[in-house]
């Protein structure tokens, strides 16, 4: 576990005030655990499957009995599912939002678990800080809303974006270009990048602050009076730790919310 603190060996305690790795990439490329043929299974992949497994287990054991008087565990899971169904799907998309609730619920719970891995002791790595996962989920949402847009409105979906009727004639071409660019390129891009960058920033801050703190305090003999700096870093890291709990939950919520908004814009394009 401890050799994961890559900074430890390279940190020059006499001259540096914070232990930063030479290349931040090494904080995000976890070691390969084992091979299946040509396929290298890294810790990230195992964690991804673990997150999916946790979500399935939570939903299965939470809703298996479905008694009228719920146990505490069932009540928690029910309130999560109800939250996505009522407060996200039906509030944003409208009455037919219930149809998209399963997708949104699965995505929300997976992202929630994946994000919370960031602050889970002994795991401490958000799987959503690898671009593959946010990019894939954004791509699924993208395919869903583009497909819905064309299947509900036919070619009018595209023409309404390129030539918006609500805008004065002289400006339509300009708004059309901006809308086309934002709908088909910026939407999936920002959806993925938002989640990814938030979690990368969080993981980076936690590793730098807590890692530096631990190393400065641990190597008390070498650092001498400078290990006081470590106490400061560690305290600051703990504040960020609490902040990251909020970020993890909020980013899962925002990703789900924006997916619902994009689906809504395809189902009812006139708004």
């Amino acid at each position: 576990m401890f050799e994961q603190l890559i900074l430890a060996s390279e940190c020059d305690l006499a001259n540096e005030v914070i232990c930063a790795p030479a290349d931040v990439k090494e904080l995000f490329e976890l070691p390969t655990v084992f091979h299946i043929g040509e396929l290298a299974i890294s810790r990230t992949i195992i964690l991804t499957f673990l997150a999916a497994f946790i979500v399935v287990a939570l939903l299965y054991f939470g809703l298996r009995k479905g008694s009228v008087i719920p146990s505490k565990f069932q009540a928690v899971i029910e309130s999560l599912v109800q939250f996505v169904r009522k407060d996200v799907a039906e509030t944003i998309i409208g009455p037919e939002g219930a149809k998209y609730a399963p997708y949104l619920t699965a995505m929300f719970l997976f992202l929630l678990v994946g994000n919370l891995f960031e602050i889970t002791p002994l795991i401490n790595f958000p799987i959503t800080a690898r671009m593959a996962i946010p990019a894939f989920l954004a791509l699924v949402t993208y395919v869903i809303f583009v497909f819905l847009g064309f299947s509900r409105n036919g070619i009018r979906y595209l023409t309404d974006i390129v030539w918006p009727k609500a805008v004065p004639v002289g400006l339509r071409w300009l708004v059309g270009i901006i809308e086309l660019f934002s709908t088909f390129i910026l939407r999936p891009l920002t959806l993925a990048v938002r989640l990814f960058a938030n979690l990368v920033a969080g993981h980076l801050m936690l590793t730098l602050l807590l890692g530096s703190g631990v190393i400065f305090i641990w190597n008390f003999a070498d650092a001498g009076a400078k290990s006081v700096v470590g106490v400061a870093w560690f305290a600051f890291g703990l504040i960020i730790f609490v902040f990251e709990i909020v970020v993890a939950v909020l980013q899962a919520y925002i990703f789900t919310l924006l997916s619902a908004v994009y689906i809504q814009s395809s189902v009812h394009p006139e708004h």
């Binding site: 509030t91 960058a197 990368v200 909020l250 919310l257």
Partner: protein, 74 residues
Amino acid sequence: MEGSIEVLKGGLALMGYGLAAIGPGIGIGIVVGNAITAMARQPEMAGPVRTTMFLGIAFTEALALIGFVLFFIA
């Protein structure tokens, strides 16, 4: 010579991120400030206002985050 160009690139990337953070910083302040005003005036609308506030924050924040990602790519 090679090293100094690397340092220059790093410094420029850092400045780029700083510049990218100005606009969204102001923007998120405006979004949240107005949302708080709205919630204080009509507490019964707090739920919808909060949802819209998060949407506004998410859209505004994207710019800063793109700057943050470009800082590492550059």
